[in-house]
């Protein structure tokens, strides 16, 4: 081994050592949740993609209200999250964009207590700012030259879109079926499609780039968002406290501001 490769080997070992040390530091969440009701340590929250912005804020508020606590968000499509939880992911809280995925988790015996609905969301048509194709309702989405992105039927925003389109009697062929609501919205932001059916909350969060067009049939496809603390999570105390916080007045205020209907 020459001097140069020896130096490389040392560098690799040092980097590996740092990586291992890093993992150790992250693992302090197992120490969270002491018995005296005070919330410390990391609370791992699995939340539907449509909750990204509001739960990021609620997480910060929760941390401020509970010094020593840290909220880690894992956002994805609700069904993917439900799968991860039933496959044993170490999560403390699950917030789903649809009751069906919550049922999966409850039936697998992973819920600690009964899920409760903490928010409702309604679909809107997201169009680029200024609405260049003058979309006023679902029927306009079938005009020639209008490209539409929907969520895949397997994820809640896709199921809701299907219900709304059926209710309106509109036969729509989208150009893509995205894997979650943020994917559909991104295609509008990038200008690759002219419209997408997403949640009202998503267009609010992206109001710099897109406008939400309300349509009456969305009332027939309202999504309930249930939340529950999970059994076997590393921080049961933190889990219960976080769920309570989401349902408290400050939490509900954040959700309402984001465009959710709160129960």
């Amino acid at each position: 081994m020459n001097a140069r490769s020896r130096r490389t080997a040392v560098a690799v070992l040092v980097a590996a050592g740092l990586a291992v040390a890093g993992c150790g530091a992250v693992d302090d969440r197992t120490a969270g949740g002491s018995g005296d009701g005070r919330v410390t340590g990391t609370v791992t929250v699995f939340a539907a993609a449509s909750l990204t912005e509001s739960f990021t804020r609620i997480g910060k508020d929760f941390e401020a209200a509970n010094p020593g606590s840290r909220v880690t968000l894992n956002v994805a499509g609700s069904s993917a999250l439900a799968n991860q939880i039933t496959q044993g992911a170490p999560a403390d809280v699950f917030a789903s964009a649809a009751p069906a995925n919550m049922t999966t988790v409850v039936e697998a015996g992973d819920a600690d207590g009964t899920p409760s609905v903490f928010a409702r969301n309604q679909l809107v048509i997201a169009v680029p700012r200024g609405n260049p194709k003058a979309v006023a309702g679902l029927a306009d989405l079938t005009s020639p030259g209008v490209k539409v992105a929907l969520c895949a039927a397997q994820v809640p925003c896709g199921a809701a879109a299907r219900t709304a389109l059926d209710a309106a009697g509109v036969a729509l062929t989208p150009v893509t079926l995205e894997r979650d609501v943020k994917g559909a919205l991104a295609k509008v932001k990038l200008g690759e499609v002219d419209a997408a059916l997403v949640y009202r909350t998503d267009t609010r969060a992206a109001s710099a780039d897109v406008t939400g067009v309300e349509f009456p049939e969305s009332a027939r496809a309202v999504n309930d968002y249930p939340i529950v603390a999970l059994k076997g999570g590393p921080n049961p105390n933190g889990a219960r406290a976080f769920v309570a916080y989401v349902r408290s007045a400050p939490g509900q205020a954040v959700l309402a501001e984001a465009g959710f209907q709160v129960p």
Binding site: N2, S5, G77, S79, A80, N83, K147, A149, A152, Q154, V155, P174, V175, T176, L177, E178, R179, G183, K187, L190, G191, E192
Partner: protein, 278 residues
């Protein structure tokens, strides 16, 4: 440089040579663990597969459509990579030009780039508002995202480095003297390339094409980002697996199994024949 020194080392210690037949445990154990780590997840798919309902899940129209589309697009992507990648590999291997090392590095960037990033980059160039895509759209009315052509482009972007690296390696290893002989006998550069160089590197070319095809077949991130997901048009097998996972783990396992069998089958069938000689 390093090779020369490595050669020197064993000469000083002849004892190590005599023991060459025995495999040291210090190598065997990590090697075995490494193998296990790579093979166990695949075995997991086999163990958890719903064998009893396998036939009907396989013949579901959605699964077959996605498989057909995957095979078609991967094959087209490989053809495109051969068309563009072989000349590129030749250029890198045979022509001295300033900045060659930089070009070689750039060519291999998609190997290490997260495929989603590749998809975003493709959108910014070939998308409706992209650098080239906008012009394609206004001039010819052609849009690439959400089309099967878009899938082929995404797969080619991610898979081409595999081909270029394999072919460039083969070209460097090939004996220049045949090409020089052809040239002295009056063959043009093009004739030399098609009649001497290409046959000479055929094994490396085939190996590269197979790797390229397999990588294209497995492409997910760039495809869903650039080409979207629509059954029959842009939904390839990896996308179908991802969405099946949203609702039905068993369907996802079955689709994964198909992809695994196709990939392993191709690699096993061609590896011994081509790669060892490359």
């Amino acid at each position: 440089m390093t090779q020369v020194r490595d050669h020197d080392a064993p000469r000083g210690r002849p004892a190590t040579r005599r023991r060459r037949g025995r495999v040291p445990a210090a190598l065997l154990i990590p090697a075995g663990l490494g193998l296990l780590f790579l093979v166990l997840p695949l075995a997991g798919l086999l163990i958890r597969a719903p064998w009893t309902t396998l036939p009907e899940r396989l013949t579901e129209p959605g699964a077959l459509t996605a498989l057909r589309l995957s095979v078609q697009t991967a094959t087209l992507a490989t053809a495109l990579c051969l068309l563009l990648g072989v000349p590129l590999a030749w250029l890198l291997a045979r022509v001295e030009f300033p900045g060659r090392r930089l070009v070689r590095a750039l060519v291999t960037v998609p190997l290490v780039l997260p495929p989603v990033v590749g998809g975003v980059a493709l959108l910014l160039v070939f998308g409706r508002r992209g650098l080239l895509g906008g012009w394609l759209d206004t001039t010819f009315g052609v849009t690439l995202p959400f089309t099967t052509t878009g899938v082929v482009l995404a797969e080619s972007f991610v898979a081409m480095p595999f081909l270029v690296i394999a072919v460039e390696g083969a070209l460097r290893a090939a004996d220049h003297r045949y090409e020089e002989a052809a040239a002295t006998l009056g063959a043009s550069r093009w004739t030399t390339f098609t009649h001497v160089t290409l046959p000479l590197v055929a094994p490396g070319l085939a190996a590269g094409a197979v790797l390229c095809w397999a990588r294209a077949l497995g492409e997910f991130g760039a495809t869903i980002t650039f080409a979207g997901n629509y059954p029959g048009r842009t939904q390839t097998m990896p996308l179908a697996v991802y969405l099946a996972l949203e609702t039905d783990l068993e369907s996802a396992i079955v689709l994964s199994l198909v992809l695994l069998v196709v990939s392993v089958g191709i690699l096993v069938a061609l590896r011994d024949r081509w790669m060892t000689t490359a």
